[in-house]
């Protein structure tokens, strides 16, 4: 990295009403000629730090120098893209660019050339006169970047540019920013990229890892990844159910962390030779990831046994299907939001609905929840037909939404009371259920706290607690762990895995690839069509065939399949 364009030392920031500081003595240096990553889960303090650097908030303590001055002094040379892009939705692409060009005093004679270059770079030339509000999430993000770049900034601050957009757009944007740091036109620019996606951290030149306001790691990401290098293994060829084996493994001494990867398990061990010489599975080294290092710094993942699952009833299911979708179609006017979606989910399995934003996942999901009436086709949840007994179907499912959908201004106890009532638990049943989830999720200390002020990890637990209080046989999860820290995410999946072992059927919609790995079966929805279905391993194999990728990740798979679908459609269009 080149010269320092921003230096922060010992930054502290507290917010009224919160006990823990949002930033607790954070120091960082942003250099030119590379991407500095600010990595951490939601609520870690990333946005606060970026706002302090942009001069939008004052730090309570610490020294900050941005472009050689106090923050907020030299705004002409600062490019800042807030989480919501800062675009005027009722202005066209060009009008947005013009506004930011004027605000940053871009000389008139440079305007045409600059606009042409940025629009070509972001591939938005075709949409010059389209309203920003009518662009897709990925295109908005690119326009937001273009607006931040309009005056050739010396420091570019990007606050979670990848949030809420699909993996393809995320990769494109990453490539664009990477290109910028190498571009001679933007030479000497420092870039700060904040993200909750740990896989993005690996690609940064330098990383600051933030958790609960504290710096856990700073330096070359390879260093953190390297610290676990020979201790990550892949387990294959075992007889047991994989969830069962994962539980056993996590309960063992010396296993720091473990996840399911299709048919195999991926474990982080305290010693390279921990499992050597044991029988019942094959052991192979696996590529270490940044996340492994993060988890280790956080003190390792949770143990394997879920107390929630232990206390849960056994769902018999009687060999029937928990969820059935048969040719589900939903049209709004002449727009088809979901076309002919079919799948079946047996009890005791996890089914994943994957796809980019706006592909039709949510529409399918809502039809199965009974929130939307299908235009064609039929569906059933726990044996209840959605058309004739939607109410019964809804009573048989627990629902956990992506964003915190509890009442922020009610206390934890009041939220639990409310959901117990909403799910029709009687007085005694409600008391029993609330006691159970309070104990399992360790909510006892926070019962009187307003749910809105809880740390994210607790909110996550509370949301799951509310969804499973009535012990439903079917669980619907809508991007349940996006943005939460990896330990909380492990904890969550430990519970889900345990429940599935008890016979619960789980439907999860996600564009978060890690969540997809936990699924028994996946269907990929793109442009309202199911473009691929199968187990995660099947899909990876298919993708490897398409792309020639060696051992593709779930994300590679997803992107390869969508690109193949686009290519097919273009070929058909060309033929027609």
């Amino acid at each position: 990295m080149g010269d320092a364009v921003a230096i922060a030392t010992g930054v502290v920031k507290r917010f009224a009403g919160l006990a823990a500081p949002a930033l607790d003595g954070v120091s960082m240096t942003i250099g030119t000629g590379g991407v500095t990553g600010l990595v951490g889960p939601d609520g870690a303090g990333k946005t606060t730090l970026i706002r302090i650097l942009a001069g939008l908030m004052a730090a309570d303590a610490g020294e900050i120098e941005v472009l050689g001055q106090a923050p907020g002094e030299d705004l002409a040379d600062l490019g800042y893209m807030p989480q919501r892009f800062g675009l005027y939705e009722d202005l066209s692409v060009e009008q947005n660019l013009t506004l930011y060009a004027d605000m940053r005093a871009l000389p008139d004679d440079e305007r045409e050339a600059t606009f042409a270059r940025l629009l070509a770079f972001t591939d938005l030339e075709r949409f010059r006169s389209r309203m920003a509000g009518k662009l897709s999430g990925g295109m908005k993000q690119k326009l937001g970047l273009a607006c931040a770049l309009v005056k050739r900034p010396r420091l570019l601050l990007l606050d979670e540019p990848g949030v809420g957009v699909d993996p393809i757009s995320r990769r494109e944007l990453w490539a664009m920013v990477q290109e910028l740091t190498a571009d001679e036109h933007y030479g000497g620019m420092g870039v700060l990229w904040s993200t909750a996606y740990l896989d993005e951290a690996e690609k940064c030149d330098q990383v600051y890892l933030l958790n609960e306001g504290k710096l856990l790691f700073e330096g070359d990401p390879a260093e953190l990844t390297g610290s676990v290098a020979d201790r990550v293994v892949r387990l294959t060829g075992f007889e047991q159910r994989r969830r069962r084996l994962l539980t056993d493994m996590l309960d063992r001494e010396g296993v720091i962390d473990g996840t399911i990867q299709g048919r195999s398990l991926r474990l982080l061990l305290d010693r390279p030779d921990r499992l050597v010489g044991e029988s019942g599975f094959q052991l192979a080294p696996a590529a270490p990831r940044f996340e492994d290092g993060f988890i280790e710094r956080l003190g390792g993942g949770p143990k394997g046994t879920s107390r929630l699952a232990e206390a849960y009833r056994t769902v018999a299911g009687d060999g029937g299907k928990a969820i059935v979708a048969k040719g589900l179609t939903k049209t709004f006017g002449d727009f088809t939001a979901a076309s002919n979606v079919s799948f079946e989910v047996p009890y005791g399995t996890i089914f994943g609905l994957l796809g980019p934003n706006g592909a039709g996942k949510s529409t399918t999901f809502k039809m199965l929840c009974g929130l939307l009436t299908p235009s064609h086709g039929e569906g059933a949840v726990a044996g209840h037909d959605l058309r004739t007994s939607g109410g019964k179907a809804r009573a048989a499912l627990g629902y956990m939404a992506q964003k915190f959908s509890l009442y922020g201004d009610l206390s934890v106890a009041q939220n639990l009371d409310f959901f117990a009532g909403a799910y029709g638990l009687g007085r005694a049943g409600a008391r029993e259920a609330i006691e159970r989830v309070t104990e399992v999720f360790e909510l006892g200390d926070v019962l009187k706290v307003n749910a809105g002020t809880l740390p994210l990890g607790f909110k996550q637990r509370l949301a799951l607690a509310a969804a499973v209080m009535h012990e439903p046989p079917v669980l619907f999860l809508d991007e349940p762990t996006s943005g939460v820290d990896p330990v909380t995410r492990r904890e969550f999946w430990t519970h889900i895995n345990g429940l599935v072992e008890k016979g619960v059927a789980v439907l999860v919609t996600t564009h978060f690839m890690e969540e997809a790995e936990y699924c028994d079966e996946i269907t990929l929805i793109y442009r309202s069509q199911q473009i691929a279905s199968g187990t995660p391993d099947d899909l990876k194999r298919q993708a490897a065939g398409m792309d020639g990728l060696d051992d593709p990740t779930m994300e590679d798979t997803f992107i390869a399949m969508i690109e193949a679908s686009d290519a097919r459609r273009e070929a058909e269009d060309a033929a027609a």
Binding site: A16, R51, A54, G55, L56, M57, A58, G72, L75, A76, L78, Y80, M81, P82, Q83, R84, F85, G86, L87, Y88, E89, D90, L91, Q95, T98, L99, Y100, D102, M103, R104, A105, C147, L157
Partner: protein
């Protein structure tokens, strides 16, 4: 680098942006140009405080020709629908029941008195529970007597004036058409809606949509930002004012006795507190829903209720009268009515303009204080 400095290029860019947003937002256009038309027609036609065809009782206690003639004058009056009785007792009951608004008593010796050349007073009883209506009822009931007396006198060829003459004249609004003072009031309501309600949304909208954050990270100054909010809505309000004036004079035949210059000066003065209040609400609440509620409660309702527009300030309790002094419309509406109905009476208009400008200055100062360039609370 003062916070009050303004960079013309940035200001122009922001004003253009604001203008484009206004033009693209049908609801803004509707409020600015549709609402005036709606309100003017509502107050001009639908709401009429005049007592046309009010039901009253006439107690005809005398059989003389004169008494009969007066009673029939009431029955033929375009203002009244008459319930005729011999005594007051049944009419009192009807008055209490609210079936009639007033009673005219023509006493027993009315005819004798008329024959002798003088008339004993007739008695007019009005339902005081509705003071406005009572005022109108008495005024019109007297009017009928006078007209009748004048006609009688003419018929009798009398040259001498009747012994007692009640002379009632309403200046500036001789036919007492309520729309003469309602229409200028409606204009004030329209200007308040545009000035306060619309602007109360604009800064809050930038906060809600996250554009405020992006703008604050550019070299923009808060003075430029506020100015960019004021200029477009100032022009929009003036356009609306012009539309209202055309409607008032052309469609409702309200006279405009004062000059256009006085009207313009007064409107500009009133826009200062109206815009300032809206922007202050917006900057302080940062939330469109809350802002619109606050704007309705603190801007629209006082203009409606506490400005003297619908309810006479003089007949309010003292402590409410005290509150009216901080309602800018209290100064605007009488001055506006003056310009329309009386003319350029500067001794009335100038103090009003002075008060309005002072209120404007206070609101703008508050607004500056509320819109700090920071995300810290």
């Amino acid at each position: 680098m003062s916070a009050w400095q303004i960079d013309p290029r940035r200001l122009r860019a922001m004003v253009v942006k604001e203008g484009v947003q206004i033009l693209r937002d049908p609801s803004t256009i509707l409020i600015a140009l549709g609402l005036p038309v709606l309100l003017m027609f509502l107050f001009g036609y639908a709401i009429n405080l005049d007592n046309s065809r009010t039901r009253i009782g006439v107690a005809l206690q005398d059989d003389s020709a004169a008494a009969m003639s007066l009673a029939s004058a009431y029955r033929h009056s375009p203002y009244f629908e008459v319930v005729l009785e011999r005594t007051t007792a049944p009419l009192r009951a009807q008055l209490v029941a609210g079936e009639i608004r007033g009673i005219v008593v023509i006493p027993q010796d009315f005819g004798k008195g008329a024959a002798r050349g003088h008339r004993p007073p007739i008695q007019i009883i009005a339902d005081g529970s509705q003071p406005n209506a009572a005022n109108f009822t008495t005024a019109y009931a007297r009017g009928v007597v006078q007209t009748w007396a004048a006609q009688e006198a003419q018929a009798a060829g009398q040259r001498a004036p009747p012994p007692i003459e009640l002379s009632l004249r309403f200046w500036y609004n001789p036919s007492l058409a309520s729309r003469y003072f309602l229409v200028p009031g409606a204009i004030a309501i329209v200007i308040t809606m545009i000035g306060t309600l619309l602007t109360s949304l604009v800064i809050a909208r930038e906060w809600e949509r996250g554009t405020m954050e992006a703008m604050m990270a550019t070299p923009m100054r808060m003075s430029e930002f506020l100015a960019s909010k004021i200029v477009p809505y100032f022009l929009l309000a003036l356009a609306s004012m012009a539309l209202c004036t055309v409607l008032a004079t052309m469609v409702f035949q309200v006279p405009l006795r004062g000059s256009l210059f006085a009207l313009f000066a007064l409107t500009v003065a009133y826009l200062m507190p109206a815009l300032g209040q809206g922007l202050f609400i917006s900057a302080a609440t940062k939330n469109q829903f809350v802002a619109s509620q606050v704007a309705l409660l603190s801007g629209f309702l006082p203009t409606f209720l506490l400005s003297g527009f619908l309810f006479e300030i003089a007949s309010m309790p003292k402590w409410i009268q005290a509150i009216t002094y901080i309602v800018p419309a209290r100064y605007f509406i009488p001055a506006l009515q003056t310009i329309f109905l009386a003319g350029d009476i500067w001794s009335l208009i100038l103090p009003a303009i002075g008060y309005l400008l002072a209120f404007g200055a206070i609101f703008f100062l508050l607004c500056f204080r509320a819109s700090r360039r920071s995300l810290d609370k």
